[in-house]
Symmetry: C2
Subunit: 691 residues, 2 copies
């Protein structure tokens, strides 16, 4: 599940519509820390984590703001995550002739550690239920007015808390608006790279083995958090247990699942199936083809494109798998049956039926009514074109800053600006020739799918031939220089209005269209679907209380389950793989292609304990964004590192099937064995294993 | 694909109806040695085997009459086959306290080799086209009379050839009666066990891993053919090449595929789907449950039942998989489309349409007409009850011997009697308590499914309670003694008529019903379907000439293909596995259950070359009966030993899909490495590797 990171990010492509359904069975569930499934744990496993356990685990967990999870694993601020979560930073640190993605990296001394250009880490310091305040702000209001009032109150509460505590604060909606919570995070931006293995070891099996199991990936990396010029001494971190977890043992996953849509209505799922998926998959394929072609220009171009190619292949496999699953016989029937049961339950009480019963049909009617318009406007986008995206952000930002906080577009509220600036002014390198390729793809894609008289298409059409336009714009633009971007933002509306940078000129034409789109959607679609979804969320509470979990929102969650294999391909998949299996699989492809291994593996194989577990599976419930999450045992010791879901779990965004859905993790023993015997990094292993 | 042997045997359960369809694509095809696919080989691989190559390969190939394949592999008569082909004999050689299935066996000196109780091996000495003679015998006759005339001529030709040459002869029908061939075999019945590994090594992964890949089985055994008290010095045997075959290399499989039904009409397949499969699967499950229960009585009972449990689990997995495949969306559509294309081709020429066009409908009408009657009479059977089966054979035999050869039931013609007696008088041990269990299952199954007024059911009903009857009959019967069976047959009809052995008494009542069934079927069903099938066969010849291959008939065939992996479970299956993979998979299940390994593997693992290939896959076309077939390269060197098909190939009986159907083989290197380093059998390895 390489690139959970990108999975989280690209979800913006689909309409975000969160709804409600009946409670979970089996080990399903991504629970918030205010409502852990204590009853179920106690009943099934005779184990009930206490408040201290929960606090310790929560304060050890780390959110990677570029789309992943991690945890503190030493007294000196070491943070463990996946290589594929780290790979974006590795790429940004690399240059021609210095390719950390390929060679890996190890800082034997603190002073050799390299600072990440734009990595922000978060730790959830505290959380408070602000449902009453948010709902009170909208009391007596309806439709768009209610939405606006709640949005304003959420922005206000976040900014107020941020000012008071100095923490990074946000008000999140859970249970589709059934609850609102103020989450405040400790933020770290001085994060330094300590260790990463070679891509061939971390991503062994490449795109082929991605999302599959049995698996053999050393998919980990280590960062260190610094503060005030010294390594951070975190109050809480997870102890490493290299013995791992036994078959059948209870384990927990603590992390930040990005997005699930298990509470979608049938109509919403059908809408995605018929519009979102085909379009998205076409875009992935087009982009991959363009990037592959670009990377054939030479080794340096290959280096520049490779991480993006991974990410798009990852997205293609993930969404392709989901799409196949949704279209497979029986899937929609199953999904519909769940909804029917829930609606029957609602209909069984008169007052429920009166309050909530019409919500499903309201959503359906709205989606039908605006189907064409929604699809057309969703194509007002320059997907994948990062430099053009920066131009659009700058133009939007200087405009929004003129408005009072309560009236700004989402993403531009006062409490969100630090993070926005941190990313916008990142010193990570920008390659104009590479940017031109992605912009060309974006232009062609929008022009292909939009009608000629569409305003967005008209602006793009005026640019002339997409290839020449993309090359000209990216070559001439000065936006690749972070100082120039900063200067523009500091200059405000005047500077932006006067600027003749060609990407800014383009963005000035596009932003009014995008802003109009947002207003249109709020007034038409959201004005119906948001309150209808909230009512479904309330119906769920009414029917099931808090014995249910909210859909994933890239906020901290706790999943639990046991270490176990599953039926696969006519037999059983083992609960774990070992170093034996790694060498076997490489030899099964004559040590070639995605299954080649760094030479050190072959040279040192006789020094390794080949029975060392490499990867293992458990039936904890995860989704993209959980990459890098620690797997812990009852004693809150780290026994593994989540890095993937199996191919059967791809439909997990919509439906959890505990017979075959599995979380795939790196075993703690493999990390230690590799550090000590393959990478001569015994010091790091010692730091992890320090009692 | 443990127990291809039994798969071949149990096919008697289903109606045997062979028909015709269009020619094969890709590497599909099981070619007879008179018509090897030279053009395709030359065009695709630039390799054209000459007559000498073909003769050498044919005379090195061995048929195991209990349902498998093998080959001569040394100058001193060593025959290589699968452990699971040998396991029937291993079981028959075992006794309480001497369990060769469990412990394996190795005769370090020739005098320690153990003679098999009832193993017959065949080598195809020569083959002649006798189509003209067989068709001439039936000229001017129609329906049942034509069938009878052909049957008589086939029996006559076989007996004539047998007398003349001393060889074992049979006239087989190919291309659904499009051709008839006289096949004459050199027969060997002094066959001695030389080597077999422990079941845990041979059948590693057990029923779970059966029919799947990646795989790690040491599924081989070695016999030696003796003649006149000395090891045979065969003129032809395959040289061993422990380097095996490279990825992408052209390889051949030479063996005896049991049965395919790729030329079934749609109606026939539907008939099997709706009648044959559900009944058969229910029988397998009932038997397995009864045998499992029996084996819980104690370790000796477990030893007695285990090989039969393997066989039935194997059959259940094979037929269950086929059944699922047939019922899966798209399968019948695909099968129908093939038939439609063929029928359209036939319809495209007036004279073809006139001669062949009605055949499909005639088959359909007949199956519809006799549907209920066919199903009822197919239940006149004591499936799995071997001792009762011997009684039935004896009663039938003494009766048939009274008739002229031409008029006997199939299986009792003069040329078939040696083999029948060899099996009937086998000294293999018979366990009355075990026989009672299988007889009880058979009684209950027939009584459950047959109407109460059915004559077969009436006879069984008169026995009283099935458990008590089965126990009484098997305990009291003297048929377990081969001398008694011989004495009865020698005594002829008088001895059998007077005999008061309870199983003979029962058989005397059942045999008239069974004989009547055969006559009924010949006069009604076969009288239509046989000629209709022949016409479809002729249509196929008319349309495609001999660029097609005949359905499998447990006669010698040549398949070709390349060594290559395939798409599986979201990624690629490797073309080979290694000893690394064997240890990995065992550790993946904590070395327990079906994935435990003999201790010698763990003790000696550091002496092994772990990169030794264990199993590999190629896309040659095989089916049950091919177990034990040699895989050879262009130089006719043995590079592997077929032992299974992957789970995707289960529908191969009806349809070959070269994208995923794969043959799974033991690599030649694993056999040598195991003999030398695990079993201290270097002498045997030397004999195999002798240049």
């Amino acid at each position: 599940m390489k690139g959970h990171a990108s999975a989280v990010r690209t979800t913006a492509v689909l309409l975000v519509l969160f709804l409600a359904s009946p409670p979970a069975g089996a080990e399903e569930g991504m629970w918030t820390f205010d409502n852990p499934p204590l009853k179920a744990l106690s009943a099934k496993y005779g184990f009930e984590p206490d408040a201290k356990w929960l606090e310790h685990v929560r304060l050890s967990a780390v959110r990677f703001m570029d789309g992943g999870s991690g945890s503190f694993v030493s007294a000196h601020g070491l943070v463990l995550t996946n290589h594929h979560v780290a790979v974006g930073q590795l790429q940004k640190m690399s240059r021609a002739g210095r390719d950390y993605v390929k060679t890996g990296f190890y800082a034997a001394r603190p002073k050799d550690e390299i600072k990440c250009p734009d990595l922000e880490l978060n730790v959830l310091d505290n959380m408070n239920d602000v449902t009453a305040k948010v709902l009170a702000a909208a009391r007596g209001k309806r439709g768009e007015a209610a939405i606006k009032a709640r949005r304003a109150e959420r922005a206000r509460l976040a900014e107020e808390a941020k000012k008071k505590t100095g923490l990074e604060c946000e008000v999140i909606s859970l249970y589709q608006g059934g609850e609102y919570w103020l989450y405040c995070y400790r933020k770290y931006t001085d994060v330094r790279l300590v260790f990463a293995p070679e891509r061939q070891a971390a991503y062994f099996g490449g795109d082929h083995d991605n999302f599959t199991y049995p698996r053999h990936d050393l998919d980990f990396a280590l960062f260190r958090v610094w503060q005030d010029g010294k390594p951070l001494q975190p109050q809480h971190y997870l102890r490493f247990n290299r013995r791992g977890a036994a078959r059948g043992e209870l384990v927990f996953v603590v992390g930040h699942p990005g997005r699930t849509q298990r509470l979608y209505t049938v109509k919403q799922l059908e809408f995605d199936r018929d519009h979102g998926f085909p379009l998205r998959l076409e875009f992935f394929e087009t982009t991959i083809a363009a990037l592959e072609k670009y990377s054939q220009r030479g080794p340096e171009q290959r280096r520049r494109a490779l991480v993006r190619i991974f990410a798009f292949n990852n997205a293609k496999k993930a969404y392709g798998g989901m799409y196949q699953a949704i279209k497979a016989p029986g899937f929609m029937e199953r999904f519909s049956k769940t909804e029917q049961r829930f609606r029957q339950r609602v209909a069984s009480r008169k007052e429920w039926q009166r309050q909530y019963g019409s919500a499903w049909d309201e959503i359906a009617t709205t989606l039908d009514k605006y189907e064409a318009e929604l699809t057309r406007r969703s194509l007002h986008n320059l997907w994948g074109a990062s430099l053009a995206g920066k131009a659009i952000t700058i133009v939007k930002l200087v405009g929004e800053l003129q408005k009072p906080d309560a009236e700004r577009l989402d993403g531009f509220h006062q409490a969100q600006l630090d993070r926005l600036r941190f990313n916008l002014f990142s010193p990570a390198p920008v390659y104009p020739d590479f940017e031109a390729v992605t912009l060309e793809v974006a232009l062609r894609f929008a022009l292909k799918h939009l009608p000629a008289d569409d305003p967005f298409a008209k602006v793009l059409g005026e640019l002339g031939d997409p290839r020449q336009a993309a090359e000209r714009l990216c070559r001439q633009s000065k936006l690749k220089d972070p100082a120039f971007r900063k200067q523009l933002v500091q200059g405000g509306p005047t500077a932006v209005a006067k600027c003749n940078d060609p990407l800014i000129v383009l963005a000035r034409k596009l932003v009014p269209i995008l802003v109009a789109d947002e207003h249109w959607r709020k007034q038409t679609v959201d004005a119906v679907i948001t309150p209808a979804s909230e009512r479904i969320g309330q119906a769920r509470f009414a029917a099931f209380g808090k014995d249910v979990y909210p859909d994933a929102t890239f906020s901290l969650r706790l999943s639990y389950g046991t270490v176990r294999g599953y039926p696969m391909n006519g037999t059983l998949a083992p609960y774990q793989t070992t170093l034996y299996g790694l060498f076997d699989r490489s030899l099964g492809f004559d040590r070639q292609g995605e299954w080649s291994l760094p030479e050190r593996f072959w040279q040192r194989r006789n020094h390794l304990d080949l029975a060392t577990p490499v990867n293992f599976v458990c039936d904890c419930d995860i989704i993209g964004g959980n990459s890098g999450s620690p797997v812990i045992n009852r004693r809150a010791e780290l026994v593994g590192l989540v890095f993937d879901g199996n191919i059967e779990s791809l439909a997990g965004r919509y439906f959890f099937d505990d017979t075959v859905n599995r979380t795939v993790s790196v075993h703690s023993a493999y990390i230690i064995e590799a550090l000590r015997k393959l990478y001569d990094a015994g010091d790091l292993a010692d730091e992890l294993e320090m009692p």
